[in-house]
């Protein structure tokens, strides 16, 4: 499978600030890639470099081998909905889309079609100045979709959307991938895109932390977790636990956490020693924990995992 987007050694220097540093990743066709990192980690700058809005200090960013500026009528190949893009307040939604359609040789019928797609048909003739944040976000999405592009780049698209809107967005993004399109969607919250993405590219402080599949990331959630026990007989339990090869640590006046043991084993163990238990909870780390762990604490990039699907 060929990559829809290829980023190689991308770097951006703003004065003395290194906003993006040696960033390398790929976005595969027919898959949704989450571009994740905390606020200020360089996501938006990277996306804007991809799209030729911000000049590239080092490296390359290409779509099927071509830079954005080299694409003929780029909006027909790459649809982008970026943050901090705005609309002229007196312009009607429909006219905003028409300005793009006219300049890119997109048939006018497509304007109504896209408005319908994002659910803005009823306000097509309304001036954008009167739009809510959610409606603007939808219009932004409509702009990205206008050219029916094979690659979509969405920068924090869920911002300003209501829960129904977010649900709709998820379904929509999955649908795009199912049609074989490549989607790169940025977010500072893994949880927001967890249900949508196939692959993740995680960056922190302008550097790549990890590129992998969501499934692979999920498999890392097992590490560093344990079983939480609440008991009125903490001292006695501690005493008998010390006699067996199991790690444990006290976490509260009547709670402790046990590592390297199953609930089944511990149930029998407690019954055998006749210890009263109030709680027995198998703790699971969430994806968000892994994400947080990856994006804080680590300054050096992890080795990059293999591309899902592998090179052609």
């Amino acid at each position: 499978m060929t990559s829809a987007i290829e980023v190689r050694g991308l770097g951006k220097q703003f004065g003395s600030v290194r906003a993006v540093d040696d960033l390398t990743f790929e976005v595969a066709q027919g898959r949704v890639t989450g571009f994740l990192g905390p606020n200020g980690s360089g996501k938006t700058t990277s996306l804007r470099m991809l799209l030729g809005l911000v000049s590239i200090s080092q490296g390359t960013a290409t779509f099927g081998g071509k830079r954005y500026v080299e694409l003929d009528h780029p909006v027909r190949h790459v649809g982008a909905a970026l943050e901090a893009t705005s609309f002229h307040p007196t312009r009607r939604a429909e006219d905003h889309l028409k300005t793009v359609a006219l300049a890119s040789g997109i048939p006018k019928a497509r304007v109504a079609e896209t408005l319908e797609l994002v659910g803005l048909t009823e306000v097509a003739r309304r001036r954008v100045g009167k739009f809510s944040l959610g409606m603007r976000q939808r219009l932004q999405l409509a702009t990205a979709l206008l050219g029916d592009p094979e690659i979509l780049i969405l920068d924090e698209p869920a911002n300003g959307l209501d829960p129904q809107g977010i649900q709709w967005l998820r379904t929509f993004i999955r649908g795009q991938a199912a049609e074989g399109h490549a989607v790169l969607v940025s977010s500072h919250l893994l949880a927001e895109v967890e249900e949508t993405v196939d692959d993740v590219v995680i960056i922190s402080q302008g550097k790549l932390v990890l590129q992998t599949t969501l499934a692979d990331l999920a498999s890392q959630t097992g590490s560093g977790t344990g079983m939480r026990i609440r008991t009125p007989e903490l001292t006695r339990l501690a005493g008998v636990l010390n006699a067996v090869p199991v790690g444990w640590r006290q976490t509260g006046p009547d709670t402790l956490v046990i590592d390297g043991a199953t609930p089944e084993w511990f149930g029998h163990f407690a019954a055998q020693h006749q210890i009263i238990l109030y709680e027995l909870i198998q703790e699971k780390g969430s994806l968000e924990d892994v994400f947080l762990q990856l994006t804080t604490g680590f300054d050096a990039p992890h080795p990059v995992g293999p591309m899902p699907g592998g090179p052609a």
């Binding site: 938006t44 700058t45 804007r48 909006v75 300005t99 793009v100 006219l102």
Partner: protein, 263 residues
């Protein structure tokens, strides 16, 4: 190119810019014409004191007086300049430039589109103020016993140049706007130049008048500049001068814009 023009025109007409500027330019043209008659047409050229036969001398009747009347709006070329400035800076003010650059990533091509729409709408603004002048000036002239047909007669001498001046000044405006993308700053610079600097420079060094936009505009439209017309250029030299100013600014603006990060 037609597609780019249609897109740019749609962008422009969905803002208040062309409508507001046309109205203000018309109102000021009207006021200037009334002022002209109050001053008894004495701001004319070298034939001012010619007194042959009726009509009476306080009504414009010489060729130059009539041309000056028709060319009233040449003196307010600043509206065409502002049109050009606004055509480009409005994109930065409302951050629509992101969408525009995504659609047209070649920045020079983007400025080119703005230059094209500026030429056409600038010329249209010239036609509008000229029509207004003909109407208001013609009515006032007729009411004062002057000859409307003699005014119309001078149209051929003034109109092409005036419309050209407006078109070219709009191009210059795009050039200024591409260099100074901050809308407020660009407007202040244009008004400051038009209202203050140009008068000071022209007032101190008479010889520079022909090189100034107002002098070039007057030359291009066969109208007296209202100052000491020390050796104004002829119409094509004047037009060329404005065009050169406009293209130099637009070229510099394109170069700067190409390096600019849109964040």
């Amino acid at each position: 190119m037609i597609a780019v023009l249609r897109s740019e025109w749609l962008k422009l007409r969905t803002t208040s810019i062309p409508w507001l500027l046309s109205i203000i330019a018309l109102v000021i043209t009207g006021l200037l014409i009334l002022l002209y008659f109050v001053n008894k047409g004495s701001n004319g050229g070298p034939h001012d004191h010619a007194t042959f036969g009726p009509p009476t001398p306080d009504i414009p009747h010489t060729t130059q007086q009539l041309r000056n009347l028709l060319g009233t709006s040449v003196g307010i070329y600043v509206f065409a300049l502002l049109l050009g400035v606004l055509i480009i800076t409005v994109e930065f003010r409302h951050k629509t430039v992101t969408t525009s650059f995504l659609t047209t990533p070649h920045r020079t091509r983007f400025v080119g589109g703005k230059v094209l729409i500026a030429v056409i709408t600038g010329a249209a603004l010239g036609v509008i103020v000229l029509a207004g002048t003909l109407l208001i000036g013609g009515i006032t002239l007729s009411a004062k016993g002057g000859s409307f047909s003699s005014l119309v007669h001078q149209l051929g001498a003034v109109a092409p140049g005036l419309i050209l001046v407006y078109a070219l000044m709009a191009v210059l405006g795009v050039g200024v706007g591409s260099l100074l993308t901050n809308q407020v700053a660009a407007i202040i610079v244009c008004l400051g130049w038009f209202l203050i600097l140009e008068n000071i420079i022209g007032g101190i060094w008479n010889g520079t008048v022909k090189w100034l936009p107002s002098g070039a505009a007057a030359a291009a439209s066969n109208v007296s500049s209202g100052r000491n017309d020390v050796g104004l250029f002829n119409w094509w030299q004047g037009s060329l001068l404005i065009l050169v100013y406009g293209l130099v600014f637009a070229a510099l603006g394109s170069i700067l814009l190409a390096r600019r990060d849109i964040t």
